[in-house]
Symmetry: C2
Subunit: 470 residues, 2 copies
């Protein structure tokens, strides 16, 4: 199977695209772009999947404008693909049937911060870093932190998470409400600002993770958290990935409310040393962070140290200095670029899976063996407190045999995770790249997903060719 | 508007009910019940809404049996209403068009406890107390605790929560996966045992809170939590509800990870004193509980004491003695029965709303004024850490003017909460009693809910006449 074969065919509606293009140009003028460079940049660029550019890019500036665009596309039966920063990894913003990319990056205002309720209202183009910069002096922060500085609309759409998820949850846990433009171009509001509700179907969580296939998110109400009184953290080396995973398992089972617990395998540590100048011993390493009161973080760190010792870990080098911590976590967030630096000129085939934590050590060890046996260069890094890990296979895409080996490895990894009662994606989403795993993971529930797609997008114009095919 | 007017008419299909009844008797024999007493017990009994008994009750013993029952009902276009313990409060198990009550109370096995993954798999008839009794020696517990000892299937169906929600979340946060019988009688599995997933639409959270209107839950995978190393708690009196609410708001905003923070107004304290012999001063009172390490709970309690003092609260009487705490929380859980004891022979009109916490003091104070002005007897009690509170209006149902006053008060309370960016129900669910508020709360999003109902239950046989009408 070639990379392109993972992309479902969506028939092009040439006449519709032409007519919608005219209507959009008439309405939005210079905010409609058709140059090859802009089109290609709005197809998939951070993915290993072939780029499928949209025909038209429209830079929307309000919910009402997004609704207008969708109504025009619905009238002409043309695909609509929402675009934030384009940092998703599984082909989410590709346009297999062409159509219109709705770029919401100019919808980048923080509309309200309700400090007293620990929530805020943002437009979908605000990135996680922008939001946290905005919040800097408020004593609050937004914890969800995927590797990229993604847009919050995109993060909600892919049900993103990151290093803090083990303590603060994923986007499904922090999105309180949404404004959504439906496939008919109507504007609806889901959820709200109450901390909980039992008032009907949970539309908020239906749209979170739906990757633009059921509607376009144009506003988000998000939970915020108080900046912890004290933060401490550090690194702990282990002789092998299995013992590091065992330390993670025991830490979680002990109920230590760890805020971050991340695994980097030997190759990834080497990459981060080279890219970010960390100077760590090149062995599997856990990066940790604890949030709480001064006494609380001390207690947590001591409990972890004891566990790490039992599991064969080396000395836990810890720090409560903000600068040192920032260096560590910046390096962790740059793991993707560090990995790419291991083999310049290669493409990164990035994949993520998630298993019950009891199976983590087994799954990571089997995957490490598989990498070795396949002769691939593929660092492992992961949010192991959730049982979630990533493998980045560095592939010379001009070498057909290597591409085939990488693809076969990724497939085996996904089947392995599903067989261990896990999932084919913990946080990257389905897009195009993971569609083929859904039948085995969900069985007949996939038919229910298809029924929902059919009901909410009967014309199949909302990001078609992703998640499920109708 | 009379109580009965809140019940949507569902046309009876007499021929279908007769035919389904024959098929069910042939298949399930003595496990099919038709006596008036059993039928009435399976209509609504804990609600103030008129009882609408089903025609037939079937005691199911497995997922496959539930699927068979649903297939028979689908064939004959007969309503199917799932029944756990019947403790819901808004008419959820009433049968406005007659039909078949599927009693799952015999499906009461804990199927698996995965201590290492902090999860378990249960049948829907297991109650929250049964599960915690089962877990007693495991070091784990299940935190969601509505007032009643409800079934876990019912709790998932109504998106229940309780006193621990401020720390541990609601059913939407702790249900990892479900087995569901669809309206066609197919068996599907949603979610799974991985701690997180981005693999497609969030069917788990679509079925959680859908009150049996989209499918019947027949198995649940639930998150568990480690029993905290240390627990402390106690009571704190306040001069009025507004100052108590202000202390709650400051506690939440300060990021104190309080496990429980509950308000009882003066009347409710009086009721609990009488029913449970608490001997508390009869003034608005907060009940609190802190979970953590020994140092952690001490720190939390001290921080709270300082806040309570600033807000005009009296001495915080705290205890780390298990017996004293149990007495307190048992009294809190019995608040419903204590309230009824205030006016023997009356019916309790119980309603719940939830508002952003910044509006809590204002909403509770306005509601207390409204109760006084209406001349009603109506204690207030609530999970105020979430902005959620309950009012129980004690009504002499033979007095038409009093019934009318109670209904008008409940309506005003719900509109007030919605106008304060809140919700008409924080945890009881919609059932029949809250349907009329949904249009104002959800606007056009209600049409999307209707579209989902139509798509997943085109014959309208799954608990018809609840949440949305198609």
């Amino acid at each position: 199977m070639s990379l392109a074969a993972m992309q479902v065919l969506v028939r092009r509606n040439e006449a519709g695209i032409a007519a919608a293009g005219e209507a959009l140009s008439a309405r939005f003028g210079a905010r409609v772009a058709r140059t090859a460079a802009i089109r290609e940049q709005h197809g998939h660029t951070t993915s290993w999947l072939p780029n499928q550019a949209p025909d038209i890019v429209v830079f929307a500036e309000s919910t009402e404008e997004v609704a207008e665009i969708v109504r025009i596309c619905a009238e002409h039966r043309v695909p609509v693909i929402p675009f934030g920063t384009g940092s998703s990894l599984e082909g989410h913003v590709n346009a297999p049937g062409g159509g219109v990319s709705v770029d919401v990056s100019r919808m980048n205002k923080v509309l309200a911060v309700h400090a007293e309720d620990l929530d805020c209202v943002v437009q979908p183009g605000v990135t996680r870093s922008q939001l946290n910069a905005f919040l800097r002096d408020s004593g609050l922060f937004f914890p969800i932190d995927p590797g990229a500085d993604a847009s919050l609309g995109g993060m909600a759409s892919t049900r993103a998470s990151g290093t803090n998820a083990v303590r603060y949850g994923t986007m499904k846990d922090v999105v309180l409400g949404l404004t959504v433009v439906t496939a008919e171009g109507k504007i609806i509001h889901t959820g709200g600002r109450a901390r909980k509700s039992s008032a009907g179907y949970d539309l908020t969580r239906l749209f979170v993770g739906s990757e633009g296939t059921l509607g376009i998110i144009t506003e988000l109400t998000l939970r915020l958290f108080g900046q912890p009184e004290a933060i401490s953290g550090g690194v702990c080396p282990f002789p092998d990935v299995a013992s590091a995973c065992n330390a993670v398992i025991m830490t979680i089972q002990s109920g230590i409310p760890v805020a971050r617990i991340e695994l980097l395998d030997t190759l990834q540590v080497r990459a981060c040393n080279a890219y970010s100048g960390l100077g760590l011993a090149e062995t599997p390493t856990l990066f940790l962070e604890f949030h709480g009161t001064p006494n609380g973080v001390k207690e947590q760190a001591e409990l972890f140290e004891a566990i790490a010792g039992e599991c064969g870990g080396g000395a836990f080098r810890w720090s409560s200095q903000a600068e040192e911590r920032t260096k560590l976590w910046t390096a962790r967030h740059n793991a993707y670029f560090a990995g790419i630096g291991l083999r310049p000129g290669c493409k990164a085939v990035t994949t993520d899976v998630c298993v019950p934590i009891s199976r983590l050590a087994e799954c990571v060890a089997a995957t490490a063996d598989d990498i070795a046996a396949s002769g691939l260069i593929a660092p492992i890094v992961g949010h192991v407190g959730d049982g979630n890990f990533h493998v980045m296979v560095l592939v010379d895409v001009t070498d057909a045999a290597e591409v085939a080996a990488a693809e076969a490895f990724v497939e085996r990894l996904n089947w392995r995770a599903i067989e261990m009662e896990g999932t084919c994606t913990g946080e990257h989403g389905v897009g195009q790249g993971k569609m083929k795993y859904l039948k085995r993971e969900h069985g007949e529930a996939l038919d229910v997903m298809r029924t929902l797609k059919q009901a909410l997008d009967p014309l199949n114009i909302m990001n078609p060719g992703k998640i499920v095919v109708i």
